[in-house]
């Protein structure tokens, strides 16, 4: 078997050899197959079929997890607008009808999106990306702890902010690694942008006490929420990227 597959160019073999030999083992190889393989190997040498993108290890992530993460990111962004931004522009009646437990869904949605991003990027992250992932995963846990603690002490609000800060800092580090690996195609900048926007919004403070003024602060929080929605879109469209190539 090896002799036959060695007829193919190295780039082709590094991408397809294992599965191709599994097929030959399953099917058995007759004389007609040998001629077919020799012809196809010559064709692969004359018309390279494997681009550099394909020689990277094939994805080992579950597309279902990535899609669930995409939905989580979009819902998180929408939820952030509903429970974080809408009350600040005076529409309290909109959020007054929502049950209290709904606010706990926000970090949950973010966590789902983060797990999905991690599963997508696993094996492609350097130390920076792994450290960023650790920070991101701790953030929602801190935020939820703080939100639960608010029933006992308002001072625990700082845990919520710390969790958010931790998550955004993690996104900056993780985002740099995503850009380096190009894992989200043209949207690879999105996690970094999300982290930077989140940090800017946190440092600027609440709209009522912000350094930039009420409107600018609102815009910053809205952009942060929009970044989550766009991250969800980037994750979702990760499945249907269409690289350019020759006729099939």
């Amino acid at each position: 078997m090896n002799l036959l597959t060695r007829l193919y160019p190295k780039a082709w073999r590094s991408r397809y050899q294992v599965e191709f030999e599994a097929l030959l083992d399953d099917r058995g190889v007759g004389l007609a197959d040998m001629l077919d393989i020799a012809r196809a190997a010559l064709d692969a040498r004359l018309h390279p079929q494997v681009c550099r993108e394909q020689t990277r290890p094939a994805p080992e992530y579950s597309t279902r997890i990535v899609r669930v993460g995409a939905v989580g990111a979009v819902l998180g962004g929408v939820m952030l607008v509903i429970i974080g931004v809408v009350p600040l522009i005076g529409l309290h009646r909109v959020t007054a009808v929502l049950p209290d437990w709904l606010q706990f869904l926000l970090p949950l949605f973010f966590l789902i999106a983060v797990v999905s991003l991690y599963s997508l990027s696993r094996g492609h992250m350097g130390a920076l990306g792994r450290a960023g992932t650790g920070l991101i995963l701790v953030g929602p846990v801190l935020a939820v702890t703080g939100m639960l603690g608010l029933a006992y002490s308002d001072a625990l609000w700082f845990l919520v902010i710390l969790g958010l800060f931790d998550m955004c800092l993690g996104f900056v580090m993780f985002g740099a690694a995503i850009i380096r690996a190009g894992l989200l195609g043209p949207w690879s900048f999105m996690p970094l942008a999300l982290g930077v926007l989140g940090l800017a919004a946190i440092f600027n403070g609440e709209p009522a006490h912000s350094k930039l003024g009420y409107s600018a602060s609102m815009v910053l929080w809205l952009l942060f929420a929009l970044a989550w929605v766009l991250l969800g879109y980037a994750l979702w469209s990760r499945q249907s990227q269409t690289p350019a190539g020759p006729e099939a």
Partner: protein, 98 residues
């Protein structure tokens, strides 16, 4: 009509009803079309389809790697089949006794 090679079209039709690895595709194609693709022909077409983004590899199961048709692949397959349907209809209409 020349947008696809025949093996590429057969592969896309095979993947239209679910993910399959190479051997399962060969069996399926033989079943629905009577065409027995050689392993070299199959993988040549798979490589080109993957490069175009019309199919995508899934995580390997043992040594076998299943493939899935992408949204872009489904769109071009639908487009191609519609063209073929129009072509067949025109041919049959012209053949019909007037």
């Amino acid at each position: 009509m020349g947008r696809f090679s025949e093996p590429a079209l057969l592969i896309l039709v095979s993947l239209a009803n679910g993910d399959k690895h190479g051997y399962a595709m060969m069996e399926d194609i033989e079943r629905f079309s009577g065409t027995r693709l050689g392993p070299g022909t199959l993988y040549g077409a798979l490589a080109r389809l993957e490069r175009r983004g019309w199919i995508e590899p899934l995580p390997a199961e043992d040594r076998r790697r299943p493939y899935r048709m992408t949204g872009a692949g489904a769109a071009v397959l639908r487009d191609q089949l519609m063209t073929m349907q129009n072509f067949v209809a025109a041919g049959l209409t012209r053949l019909a006794p007037s």
